[in-house]
Amino acid sequence: MEQLPLIAEEKKALTVSEITRQIKLSLEQRFPRVWVQGEISNFKHHTSGHLYFTLKDEGAQISAVMWRSRAEALLFLPEAGMKVIARGSITVYPPRGNYQLDVDQLTPVGIGELQLAFERLKRKLAAEGLFDEDHKKPIPEFPESIGIITSETGAALQDIRSVLARRFPAVEVLLLPVRVQGVGAAEEIVQAIAEINRYGKVDVIILGRGGGSLEDLWAFNEEIVARAIYASRIPIISAVGHEIDFSISDFVADLRAPTPSAAAELVVHDRAELLELLRNYCYTMRGSLEEKLSTLRDRVQGLLSSYSFNRPKDLLRESAQRVDELERSLTLKFSHLVQLLHQSQLTLQHRLEALNPKNVLRRGYALVRKEGDLITSARSLGEGDDATIQFHDGTVETKVQS
């Protein structure tokens, strides 16, 4: 290979600055933008906010810098040993005579950036004690008023409503509508938690949304949301996504529910079970009292038969009579109550049956579907559309005429 004339001629020797300038020009023009994959080592997070580190592989290494303005946008904190892809340009720093990779974008390899941010925040908040069990507030056993922080149009609200209506409708639900994803969602959630605490007239809060991607659920992994949950005086049940989704909210909240429906199940007792419990209590009370009465009756009878001499027998007979009367009156009250409890349960069953769409259909209503979707408006059907009509006992296919 031909040697460069610059270096060959002794008489035209370059100054260090000159050669460095040439190198700088040459390198920076040659590598204005490169992607480099490697492992981070010698990581330093300078007090100025800039990140300094080395990228290396088995055979080589390159110095790298990420200026504060870029570093602040990172969702994860790089650390030694982490495999990354760095995007940037090669720059030469003449005072030291070295070159480095000026990084403007850094992506972890193998594990998602959001996942890393999640782990990082989780570690940080755990260390601060935000997940501590002894800070968790008890969930009231019989809440009268339940606050819900979620989207007004989301599936979560519908799910919670229908579970509450079925299990324990004797509660009041107070909705604080918020956006649950996208820019500003976290701030809205924080504000809603603060406002419902100022309003004060709820016993427990359900905070959540239906399932989605990690990005969709991200608001519930934001630090400000975690801190707002921690600061809430009213206990919070976190119900974000599906069973498998864990969010930072879940860890900070006083109780985690796997789904919004499950939160509703957890927050109220089942009415039918409570009625059953009341019924059992009544039987137990009656049983105990019966036992007491029969012991007494035996004692009175014993006295009546064993005392042959002149005892106030009339008094004893009176006692016996009183026991009998008492028993009759108690039995009467008892059967009234058992009847009432039984009726409540029947009413409940009828209500549940009324909710069953099949029974609505039996009354002469029908469901209309187009391509499987329920049609709820005449405007959704046009002439020539194929539709399916479902009756309680079967379906028919039809074509719209006009």
Binding site: S145, E195, R271, M285
Partner: protein
Amino acid sequence: MSPGKSRKQSFEASLKRLEAIVESLEQGTVSLDEATELYEEGILLAKECAEKLKVAELKVKKLTKAMDGQFETEGLKEE
């Protein structure tokens, strides 16, 4: 305090009191007079609780804030 608050306390309190009554009756250490009184109270409480459970419709409201910062609630229709 909202009217709802007092209702809640009474449901929970009624049930707790009922539990206590059932327990003392089961232990059987009370006199007959006490037992009959407890029994009558218990039956009354059970009836009250059952009545409360009969509420048929879930009430859903939305919390909003008026211009002056005061809280307002508005009913939400069943979807």
